[in-house]
């Protein structure tokens, strides 16, 4: 896929296909947190359609690395157009393991998606400014082990592992450059 995209770096026009790169940053706002995100998407533009893989940093609550496929459709035939987008992929945990004095947490990949609308404003030839807003959700799984009190006098009790399935729902606002 990367090799295929790389062949488009020199902006060769082959049957209307063009390489395009979208690099953006923004905020994520939800009930638990309000923080930043950054993304880079590199794909193929064909007329009003765009598709490409993306990767980023999602600092909401538990920091993750979203890896996704980005789909876009411009509405209208002009360079300055609104668009709709949909990202679908996975959230990779930034830290696979967190250790505290009495507790160890291990994190596993969960689902990631982001859908919304935006607007493209040309700045120069082959360079445009993007602005978008949408709804984003990521999931993450945690397995927590406690190495705390193991009661060795009665009534004995020991907690086993705990399993957490998190779902984070946020508003996602992004802006950036596309070339």
């Amino acid at each position: 896929m990367l090799l295929l995209l790389g062949s488009g770096i020199h902006a060769q026009k082959k049957e209307g296909l063009k390489f395009s790169s979208i690099n953006q940053f923004g905020i994520l706002k939800g009930n638990s947190d309000q923080t930043f995100q950054v993304q880079s998407v590199n794909g193929i533009q064909y007329k009003s359609w765009f598709i490409g893989p993306g990767i980023g940093i999602d600092n909401y609550a538990l920091k993750t690395v979203p890896v996704f496929i980005d789909f876009r459709k411009s509405v209208g035939n002009k360079k300055q157009n609104p668009f709709i987008y949909a990202d679908l992929g996975v959230s990779l945990p930034w830290n696979k393991e967190d250790k505290a004095a009495w507790q160890t947490s291990q994190y596993k990949t969960g689902l990631y998606y982001d859908v919304g609308i935006g607007y493209t404003v040309p700045v120069k030839k082959h360079l445009a400014f993007n602005f978008s807003a949408g709804y984003s959700q990521k999931q993450l799984h945690e397995t927590r082990s406690n190495s705390g009190i193991i009661w060795d006098f009665p009534p004995y009790g020991q907690s086993g592992k705990e399993y957490f399935d998190y779902t984070f729902r946020r508003i996602s606002v992004k802006m950036g450059l596309q070339f």
């Binding site: 939800g30 009495w102 009790g157 020991q158 399993y163």
Partner: protein, 430 residues
């Protein structure tokens, strides 16, 4: 016209974006599902009569949670924490035979004098005739002499009955809630990376296979010297006259402060290890122990042994004693009123210890069993080490070392210190 269209399109797009933000505010609740299993033990009650009638040599059973250990002739008496005593025929150390189990609910400590075994049954002291280990006989029960037993989790036992066992129950719980509420009361979830050491609350116990009071040998709470059984509770020293071995009589109780851990006899003295140091009691009058010395130290759990000249004390971290030191302290006994600290050796996580002649054995937790030449206490020489073993206590005598470890009872032949041989192992079943 074109500019107006462009303007309207931009405005509509911006408005849609703004409205979507407002609308979506209601859809941004973060949630979680938590699934966990908790193991809980429900008490099994028996009447006093039922319990006492079962204090005899019953069918041998697997060793599960080894505690205190006592050697008497060819027999090993091994405490099964809270349940009773394994009787092991060790006539052949390479093939020890588990021959019987004496059911004593709540048992944590043992001591033996000649053919009489003394053990605690919760708050009672029991005297058991072990002349024939295959057919032991309960001789006497002294009631209510050990008031320090307590339970965790606010459990209150039925005082009219005896807890003879525990029924294990596993419960799986699934709960769902909002992450923001969870965050407010459990901040640690998302900030684990920022946390340093725990500031309190949880403290890991030694190990779930060992008594919270330590194992036998140097970590005992019972000891016998002459015709007296001395026991230490949480804050008191009790004296039992056992001149008539089958009829122990509680003759004295001394308040010792707090957090008493171990007791060790030395000539006409008792060394008592506590969380604040080591106390020396003289027992010239055996029914009236009098404190004659003290060695204050950092808080820790202090197994202690002694020879003619020195006391050897281990301190360790990672226990409910909340100490931070892991070391061996050697004290001079020239002045028993104020034993002087001679030397400190840093260790990994030392527990019990034993000495045979000039050879010192130290159970150094996960670092295994360490064997030192202690001819010169100012310059201990490590002569051998049995690693890959999590050790708690050791009794070494006549070339045979009994080691209580996490996974069982090991016996080693140390007649050649350069070539210590494993003779046998009694496995702890899980």
């Amino acid at each position: 016209m074109i500019n107006m269209k462009k303007f309207l399109l931009t405005a509509i797009t911006a408005a849609c974006c703004f409205l979507s933000l407002v609308f979506l505010q209601g859809c941004v609740k973060d949630s979680y599902q938590r699934t966990y299993t908790y193991t809980y033990y429900k008490p099994i009650y028996k009447t006093t009569a039922e319990v006492r009638s079962n204090i005899k040599s019953n069918t041998p059973r697997q060793v599960e949670r080894p505690g205190k250990i006592y050697l008497k002739g060819q027999y090993i008496f091994l405490n099964e924490i809270d349940k009773g005593i394994h009787v092991i025929n060790n006539a052949d150390p390479s093939n020890p035979q588990n021959i019987a189990f004496i059911d004593i609910p709540g048992n944590m400590d043992i001591a033996v004098k000649e053919n009489m075994l003394y053990a605690d049954l919760y708050t009672d002291l029991v005297a058991i005739d072990i002349t024939n280990p295959n057919s032991v006989v309960l001789k006497k029960v002294v009631e209510g002499v050990f008031p320090h037993r307590y339970w965790n989790s606010s459990f209150i036992a039925d005082s009219t009955k005896i807890v003879s066992g525990w029924e294990k129950r596993d419960t799986t719980i699934v709960e769902k809630s909002n992450v923001d509420l969870w965050l407010k009361s459990n901040r640690g979830i998302f900030f684990a990376a920022d946390m340093l050491q725990s500031t309190g609350g949880f403290a890991s116990s030694a190990n779930k296979s060992a008594s919270p009071y330590g194992v036998g040998g140097s970590m005992a709470r019972f000891t016998i010297t002459d015709n007296r059984l001395y026991t230490v509770g949480y804050s008191e020293l009790d004296v039992f006259n056992i001149t008539n071995a089958a009829d122990p009589v509680n003759t004295a109780r001394k308040n010792m402060g707090w957090n008493i851990e171990t007791i060790y006899p030395f000539m006409d003295k008792l060394f008592i290890g506590s969380q604040s140091g080591m106390f020396v009691y003289t027992i010239t009058n055996p029914d009236n122990p009098i404190q004659t010395g003290e060695f204050s130290h950092v808080r820790s759990c202090d197994p202690v042994i002694a020879d003619n000249k020195y006391a050897y004390v281990t301190l360790r971290s990672g226990t409910t004693c909340q100490g931070f030191s892991n070391e061996l302290d050697i004290l001079s006994l020239n002045n028993l009123s104020n034993p002087a600290l001679l030397k400190v050796y840093n260790l990994t996580n030392p527990h019990g210890l034993s000495k045979d002649g000039s050879t010192l054995f130290i159970c150094d937790g996960q670092a295994g069993l360490k064997i030192y030449n202690a001819s010169d206490v100012m310059n201990l020489q490590l002569v051998n080490q049995i690693a890959n073993l999590e050790t708690y206590d050791v009794i070494a005598m006549n070339g045979n070392a009994l080691v209580i470890a996490k996974d069982g009872l090991y016996q080693y032949d140390y007649s050649n210190l350069s070539n210590i041989r494993l003779l046998s192992k009694i496995t702890v079943s899980k």
